[in-house]
């Protein structure tokens, strides 16, 4: 699969690395170039695997290969930026599978009602902690 990931923080790094190890073609965007240092050296040095971009300009999304992407994942640490980029990927670039990280559980529910596949890290983390705490 061709996968474009926006956001190369801890979550983005994990996702990109795992998909790359599975043999998928990955491209990751981040507005800060140093973020890519957390990626495995081999992946980081791969031609075209990383792109310094905040994912706002459409020409940069095109440069990242969004037009040929099978999957777009928005996992930056900003909910609203993720939601905008993910909805653009879905409605403007018609990417078949779009997944968006939204920290705020309430907004996550709203976007999911609107048909956007969303994951709230807050919800998932707290559920796991509760599971570990409760007998």
């Amino acid at each position: 699969m061709n996968v474009v990931v926006m956001g190369c923080g801890r979550i983005g790094t994990q996702i990109v690395t795992a998909l790359w190890k599975e043999g998928h073609s990955v491209r990751v965007l981040d507005s800060v170039g140093e973020s890519f240092l957390a990626l495995p050296k081999e992946l980081r040095e791969l031609e075209g695997a990383t792109l310094v971009s905040d994912g706002i300009l459409e020409e940069e999304l095109v440069e990242a290969g969004i037009q040929d992407a099978d999957v777009f994942v928005a996992v930056s640490n900003r909910d609203n930026r993720n939601a905008l980029a993910a909805q653009k990927a879905k409605h403007i670039f018609n990417v078949p599978k779009v997944v968006c990280r939204v920290g705020d559980p309430e907004r996550q529910e709203m976007y999911s009602k609107l048909g956007l596949a969303t994951v709230s890290s807050t919800k998932v983390t707290s559920a796991l902690i509760l599971e570990a705490v409760l007998p």
Partner: protein, 220 residues
């Protein structure tokens, strides 16, 4: 009406003043405490500090009973999130937003934001208006990738003195008004004559504006 404004910067501030003076009930949300203090010192207790795309803040601002929410921050993603939350979580009947990146207009339209004001497009339209010849004056973007253009018939134009029915307009183009030189509105019928200096207001698809200009100004 009850209007909630998200973003109390320059646009938000003056918008608030105008709406306030027009007798509306206005409430402003801004992330910056200094701006909130300034708004309160001008207009009374009508502003809170917070993220306008946060459900708890919209609840506190009374968005649930708002007739209109207007997003005026400098970041499109925050404006979109505020509008979508207001629309889908709080059922606000009308959402209005400023956009900074003109590329976002199409998406915001698809997502059902009611009124989208593109500052870049407005500036471009204003500049185009100043350009001499061969640029449709007063171009205003309209939804569906359409434009409203106002074009003055030049004195040497081939359409001056012709009936509307004799003019071949570009596809998907409707003339919506003809204003004569003295400012009176002409009726729009097949038998209406166009004259030099008439201003023709038409709605056309964006890439046909040039063709329309050509039709109306080509020398006869």
């Amino acid at each position: 009406m009850y209007i909630v404004v998200v973003g109390g910067g320059m646009v938000g501030f003056h918008l608030t003043r105008a709406l306030f003076n027009a007798g509306h009930e206005v409430f402003v949300v801004d992330i910056d405490g200094k701006r909130v203090d300034e708004l309160i010192s001008h207009f009374g207790n009508i502003a809170i500090k917070g993220d306008g795309s946060e459900p708890s803040i919209q609840t506190a601002a009374g968005v649930a009973r708002a007739d209109i929410l207007i997003a005026t921050t400098s970041t499109d993603e925050d404006n979109l999130a505020a509008c979508q939350l207001a629309k889908h979580q709080f059922n606000v009947p009308k959402t209005v937003t400023l956009i900074n990146n003109p590329e976002d207009e199409n998406l915001f339209d698809i997502l059902g934001i009611d009124v989208i004001v593109s500052s870049t497009q407005l500036l471009l339209a204003a500049i185009e208006e100043e350009l001499p010849a061969h640029s449709p004056a007063h171009v205003l973007p309209v939804r569906g990738n359409r434009e409203a253009a106002a074009i003055e018939i030049p004195i040497n134009s081939g359409v001056a003195g012709k009936k509307l029915s004799a003019i071949q307009l570009p596809p998907e183009t409707n003339i919506v008004a003809i204003v004569s030189r003295d400012g009176t509105l002409k009726p729009i019928t097949d038998d209406t004559f166009l004259e030099a200096h008439d201003e023709v207001v038409a709605v056309t698809v964006a890439d046909q504006a040039e063709a329309l200009l050509e039709v109306l100004s080509r020398e006869g």
